[in-house]
């Protein structure tokens, strides 16, 4: 195809008449408006299921889960440390009591 032809095609919209919607367009707009106003739940669902919102919600849930997991792990390791410390302290107290008891027995 020559450049002249492509120029003709590019000019093919010259003199274009405007397209019009079918009759009673205003009535259809009003019906749509009423449908949209009554369908507030439908619009809410449509908003929630938008890919960007759905992905953001999933990411938030994932982050909260990850945060909860790490927090739990930290708390349980602190509790384990504390437990170990308590056991050690108990053990030391028992040892001390035993040695006191032994010393007293020896003295008698």
């Amino acid at each position: 195809m020559e450049q002249k032809d492509s120029a003709h095609i590019l000019d093919s919209l010259e003199g274009l008449q405007k397209a019009s919607p079918g009759p009673f367009f205003y009535t259809r707009v009003l019906a749509r408006l009423q449908k949209e106003e009554s369908g507030i739940w439908g619009r809410l669902v449509a908003y929630i299921t938008r890919p960007s919102i759905a992905l953001a919600t999933l990411a938030l849930i994932f982050l909260l889960n990850a945060a909860a997991f790490f927090y739990e792990r930290e708390v349980s390791s602190m509790a384990a440390d504390q437990n170990e410390q308590t056991i050690n302290e108990d053990y030391n107290t028992t040892l001390a009591a035993n040695s006191y008891y032994d010393e007293n027995n020896d003295a008698r």
Partner: protein, 186 residues
């Protein structure tokens, strides 16, 4: 009129719809290339006008505001359709949906002069492939007959940017039309 609609006057809304319906519908038709989709988007535009008229501050003309809503709704509509097409294609791959994907026939704008019908159909086929900004600028210029200044107001850009967009759009169209006529069955 706008002030009346802001006060909730329904007759003002009727006047706005009947005054601008052709402009909105014709713009949507140029971008979407389907009477059914253009009707759908035109209705959406006026629903949004009714719901968000209070956000219209009157800094631009009402027609400029309407063009902005129309072009953005039309582009959203195209994206939604593409998403649906992709989804249907994936479903077909997994054999969940046996619906055959049908390529739409050539678009014929009802306002095209009869002698130019075939040429205009080829042109619309090429317009479909343009990037969004170039498509909007080209449709507003050729289908709606807006000048560069008016297009720059709708697209919130400078006149020189519009000139550049239209220059690139025409170059792309020329290239694709030449390819189309060299390989008509591709």
């Amino acid at each position: 009129m706008v002030e009346q609609l802001k006060r909730g006057d329904e007759s003002a809304f009727k006047i706005i719809v009947t005054t601008w319906q052709d402009m909105v519908y014709n713009t949507a038709m140029g971008i979407l290339q389907s009477a059914e989709d253009a009707e759908d988007v035109a209705q959406e535009v006026f629903v949004q006008v009714y719901e968000s008229i209070h956000t219209f501050k009157g800094e631009s003309k009402l027609s400029t505001w309407l063009y902005r809503i129309t072009t953005s709704k039309a582009l959203d509509h195209i994206r939604r359709k593409k998403r649906k097409k992709r989804f249907a294609f994936v479903q077909n791959l997994f054999g969940e949906n046996n619906e055959v994907i049908i390529q739409p026939p050539d678009f014929h704008h009802p306002g095209v002069v009869l002698d130019n019908k075939e040429k205009a159909a080829a042109l619309f086929k090429a317009i479909e492939k343009l990037p969004d900004n170039q498509k909007i600028a080209f449709v507003l210029n050729k289908v709606e007959g807006l000048n560069y200044q008016e297009i720059s107001e709708v697209m919130k850009t400078t006149v020189s940017s519009v000139e550049s967009l239209l220059h690139r759009a025409k170059n792309n169209l020329r290239k694709w039309l030449q390819e189309l006529y060299r390989n008509p069955y591709d």
